[in-house]
């Protein structure tokens, strides 16, 4: 860990552009110990008044400092947005969720082991040095939206559920703005070190959710052990049926790309149709058409297909025919 200065912000205006925000610290401190991140200055935002969950335009506003454990347990969230609650509880451990914040969770960095290891070349950590993961151990890497510069994934769960719920990120700073979660994280392209649209000096103040859509909500996370592991693949699904036909389908995918992934075409094909294995296979085909894998993680393509089929069967009540 490098020496750094520590400030405490009393208002968003106090957050200097050059300082790195610390909230729960559960990701940042690990990275600082390894000097994967080595900020000169930390600004602690935990005193800001950003820890409320409140009604917002028929939906909900979640403050950036709301702890993952509190958000998961909130009665309104559990009733109206159960997929969010389930995604949170599928992440990390009880101790970590007690510290982790909504803003910090959105901003958590990849778990690519080569990113964590300063002996290794990494375009995300040190732009232009190369990507040691390629040719190495890539069990956790991306099958969608990767570039030859970086094949890392966004590892989080909460954001996958938020994406399926059409959440919007509220940002304060020199020019306050709102960004749909779908546009918040960026694919690596030529600049894998640029992970979100957030600019220096900007602070996430909260996340808003539109009015609840109801329906069947599922969060399904497949991982290498039953708890306390990052997703190999995960799916947040919000499915509503009317008269035997699918009338609303929101599907978001984790563990497969540098951002929570959503594919409008794969959802559109489901709408107005009766559930069937053939239909679900069609959706999976569309989703996975652009998928690429070139190593240990090739299994994620069949695994995501199978998990999607299972999730859709479960959410629509379709009995397995296979």
């Amino acid at each position: 860990m490098r020496e750094f200065t520590y400030l405490r912000a009393n208002s968003v205006a106090d957050v200097p552009a050059g300082a790195t925000i610390i909230a729960g610290g559960t990701n940042l401190l690990d990275l600082m110990k390894l000097e994967v991140m080595a900020p000169d200055a930390l600004v602690d935002i935990t005193r800001l008044d950003l820890n409320r969950i409140e009604p917002h335009e028929g939906g909900l506003r979640i403050g950036a400092l709301v702890r993952n454990s509190d958000l998961a347990a909130d009665p309104v969230v559990r009733r109206d947005y159960p997929v969010l609650s389930r995604a949170l509880l599928a992440g990390a451990s009880g101790q970590l969720r007690n510290m982790a914040t909504t803003g910090g969770n959105l901003m958590q960095r990849t778990r690519c082991p080569y990113f964590y290891d300063r002996r290794m070349a990494c375009n995300k950590r040190d732009p232009g040095t190369g990507c040691a993961a390629q040719g190495g151990v890539t069990r956790h890497h991306a099958i969608l939206g990767a570039s030859d510069r970086c094949i890392a994934t966004y590892p989080g769960d909460m954001a996958v559920a938020l994406l399926a719920l059409d959440a919007v990120v509220q940002i304060d700073g020199p020019a306050p703005r709102e960004v749909p979660l779908a546009d918040f994280h960026l694919l690596p392209g030529e600049t894998p070190h640029v992970e979100t649209v957030l600019k220096p000096g900007e602070v996430i103040t909260g996340v808003t959710l539109p009015a609840p859509v109801g329906g069947e909500q599922r969060y399904r996370k497949v991982r290498d052990r039953a708890s306390y592991a990052f997703a190999l693949v995960s799916i947040a699904a919000v499915i509503r049926m009317e008269q035997g036909q699918i009338s609303h389908a929101a599907l978001a995918f984790g563990g497969v790309a540098a951002k929570p992934w959503r594919d409008g075409d794969a959802e559109a094909v489901l709408l107005g149709r009766e559930p069937s294995d053939a239909l679900f296979a069609q959706a999976a085909d569309i989703l996975l058409k652009p998928a690429r894998a070139f190593g240990d993680h090739a299994f994620k393509i069949p695994l995501l297909r199978r998990t999607l089929m299972a999730t859709l069967r479960d959410a629509t009540g379709l009995e397995a025919t296979a």
Partner: protein
């Protein structure tokens, strides 16, 4: 003068002396004595002492897989950068008498320690160590086991008859290859040491399992006399083999403390533990089994490939139990070693059997299926009467009982055929495996003092690595001396006390326990003399001695205190009898038919390990062992980079030991047993038996659930779906 009662275990001991004692505390499920200290943070582990004026050292690690260190730059802000020829390249193996391989300027694997940075704070030292400039002359070296022609150490090969012929003549055969990955002990407490010199005397607080041999290693490594070195390890936060031999941190701490003239702590970070502690070697195991028409094995072949550094002598004894578990006239063990540059391989809990028995028991399951014989029955039909090849008798043999009792308790008869039990998305299956682990005794000494006030003190340099040694040695002394357990104080983990076996190889409890037994026996004789009776006629209970109709409190019989040493040595029974512990594992798993996730629903172990010294700590050992088995079967893999061999998963988020959610409520049963050939305690090792074969029960249950055989461990979802189809 302290009298010593000495025993070499040259013959059987059938007197069941401990069963005749009156206190009734041995075997009781007492809580661990040091538990409250640990859960309230008052037990000081190696890195938790704070001698005045202590400085902090952090190891500098090589960033190339092999070569030479040409130059190490400065570390601004640090007190010192220390390179010393005595510093360690990789850890000593358990029971080594000599120091570990030294000379850190020569690099044998990526991450090797090459120097130490010392600073006023841990953070400053780590920062300097992480950023110091090092110039190397690097070399290209092989890091993949398949990339080299393996060595075949002549002593490790064995063959009787002709397995090829047995295979040709057999009614049913099995010939398959399995792979297990490198595994890490992942003890909760990272390795750490604090060294402090006083003139030419050095005291080192360390995280170590075997102090008496560690002291020899350390003295040799530092080039000092043993008598000038004291090791302290009163509390050790798990070892699982990784603290059997001294490692880089302890040697570096001693060198730095001498050079700086102040105490120095060197603690490994979690990532460093993954780089520097011994890994269990990855294995490739080909198993060939030949069966005749009556379901009897005629041939057994176990062909093993493991790896280690070119200069390390240790090779994972994968097929250790193969020669004596099942009978067959034709048998062959091939043991090959690939010399490659991954981190050093060494003992991890149950070296050999942990992966060897696990794979062998998977093979037996496949053979049973091919032959159409129930897996329990196949094993029962092939239990040898004497150790095959050597014809030695077994000191005890409980496999048949463990299999039969296990089948009954688990409800094995309710097992369905493959793929027949489905609950929604989940396919349910049952599997079983035999458990076997070699048993050893190691020379051990202990001192016991009985005070006039009715207290006793046990002293030995034995360690308690979280297993319950404090508690069981206290119970033993209490039983022998007729005292309530809380009247006995146990002092461990200090080389000023008599040297014990240390904790390793499942031999700790029985070896150190026998020495405490002997010391107590000597004290009992002295009391008997005062009482004017034979020791055998003496009853000690609740601080009162009785013989015939005479009854006197101990306080009247002792003036001041009585002290005696016990000294146990293994003897002829080591050779005259094949000693082993036995058991059986049973598992019921659910496999998700879409995602390939596996959940263990139920798991049970039945074990025979001689006398059980404390029902609770014994059970805990088995629970831990079975959890290790779940890890081996389902989750644990230390990945190596294919280009430079470095450990890729270097923390507990990425190296997946089983979590609570992976481990169901485990059931443990002990079979009553007294083994006469293992010393007067009649107790055998238990710390490792619970692992041996446990993973096979899980893997065999996966097959029963869904028809998939995973032979490349662990059985993660990708490997299950690859076999499922659809």
């Amino acid at each position: 003068m302290t009298l010593t009662r000495h025993l070499r275990v040259d013959g059987p001991n059938h007197d069941d002396r401990l069963d005749l004692m009156a206190q009734g505390v041995l075997g009781q499920p007492l809580n661990r004595l040091e538990g409250p200290l640990k859960v309230t943070g008052r037990a000081t582990y190696a890195a938790e002492a704070r001698p005045r004026n202590m400085a902090y050292g952090v190891l500098v690690q090589a960033t190339v897989p092999a070569g030479k260190v040409l130059e190490i730059g400065d570390a601004p802000g640090a007190l010192a950068v220390i390179q010393d020829k005595r510093m360690v390249r990789y850890a000593a193996q358990g029971m080594d008498e000599k120091g570990p391989t030294s000379g850190p300027d020569r690099i044998e694997y990526m991450g090797q320690s090459i120097a130490l940075v010392v600073a006023e704070s841990f953070e400053a030292a780590r920062h300097a160590a992480q950023n110091i400039a090092v110039r190397y002359k690097s070399e290209d070296v092989p890091v993949l086991p398949d990339a080299v022609a393996p060595e075949l150490p002549p002593k490790k090969q064995s063959a009787v008859g002709d397995v090829d012929k047995a295979m040709r003549d057999a009614a049913v055969t099995l010939d398959q290859v399995w792979h297990t990955p490198s595994q890490m002990s992942a003890a909760m407490e990272p390795h750490a040491a604090i060294a402090e010199w006083d003139g030419d005397q050095v005291t080192i607080r360390a995280a170590l399992q075997m102090l008496s041999s560690n002291r020899k290693q350390m003295a040799d490594a530092l080039g000092i006399k043993e008598k000038n070195l004291r090791l302290l390890a009163p509390y050790v936060g798990g070892g699982f083999g990784s603290k059997l031999g001294i490692n880089a941190e302890a040697v570096a701490a001693a060198i730095a403390a001498k050079q700086l003239g102040r105490p120095v702590m060197v603690a490994m970070t979690r990532q460093q533990v993954f780089d520097l502690a011994h890994r269990r070697s990855e294995t490739r195991q080909r198993i060939r089994l030949a069966l005749d028409g009556d379901g009897r094995l005629t041939g057994i072949g176990h062909d093993v490939l493991v790896s280690n550094l070119p200069s390390s002598e240790f090779t994972e004894p994968v097929a250790q139990a193969t020669p004596f578990t099942y009978q067959a006239a034709q048998r062959q063990v091939v043991h090959a070693v690939a010399r490659i540059h991954r981190g050093c391989a060494g003992s991890v809990r149950a070296p050999g059997e942990a992966v060897g028995v696990t794979v062998f028991e998977c093979a037996m399951d496949e053979l049973a299926e091919a032959a159409g014989i129930d897996p329990v029955e196949l094993r029962l039909r092939n239990i040898p009467d004497v150790e095959p090849t050597t014809e030695r008798p077994f000191s005890s043999h409980m496999l048949a009982e463990a299999l039969q009792e296990g089948a009954r308790l688990f409800g094995w008869s309710g097992r369905k055929s493959v793929g027949q039990r489905v609950e929604g998305e989940w396919m349910i299956g049952m599997g079983m495996a035999a458990a076997v682990r070699v048993n050893m005794l190691i020379e051990s000494r202990a001192r016991v003092t009985l005070l006039q006030d009715g207290h006793a003190i046990v002293e030995t340099d034995m360690t308690d690595i979280g297993t319950g040694t404090y508690t069981i040695l206290g119970q033993l002394a209490a039983e022998m001396l007729g005292l309530p357990a809380e009247r006995v104080e146990v002092r461990l983990g200090d080389t000023d006390f008599p040297p014990a076996s240390g904790s390793g190889g499942s031999f700790g409890a029985a070896s150190s326990g026998n020495s405490v037994y002997l010391a107590c026996e000597e004290i009992r004789s002295q009391i008997a003399t005062v009482m004017g009776c034979n020791e055998a006629d003496l009853t000690l209970q609740d601080g009162v001695a009785r013989a015939g109709n005479v009854s006197r409190p101990l306080s009247e019989l002792i003036t001041g205190q009585v002290t005696a040493d016990g000294h146990l040595q293994p003897g002829k029974t080591e050779k005259s009898h094949r000693q082993a512990t036995w058991g059986s594992h049973w598992a019921e798993v659910a496999v998700n038919r879409w995602t390939g996730e596996v959940r263990v629903r139920r798991m049970m172990g039945v074990f025979a390990c001689g006398r059980v010294l404390n029902e609770k700590t014994a059970r805990s050992q088995c629970l831990g062992g079975m959890s290790f088995g779940i890890g081996i079967a389902l989750t644990e893999a230390m990945e190596h980079d294919p280009r430079d061999g470095h450990a890729v998963s270097r923390d507990l988020a990425e190296y997946h030991v089983p979590t609570h959610a992976d481990v169901p409520a485990l059931e443990v049963h002990f079979l009553p047993e007294r083994d006469a050939y293992v010393g007067p305690l009649q107790a055998k090792g238990l710390g490792e038996l619970g692992i041996c074969g446990a993973g096979a029960a899980v893997l065999n249950a996966i097959h029963n659930a869904c028809g998939v055989r995973v032979r490349d461990l662990p059985a993660t979802p990708d490997k299950i779906i690859a076999g499922l189809g659809g």
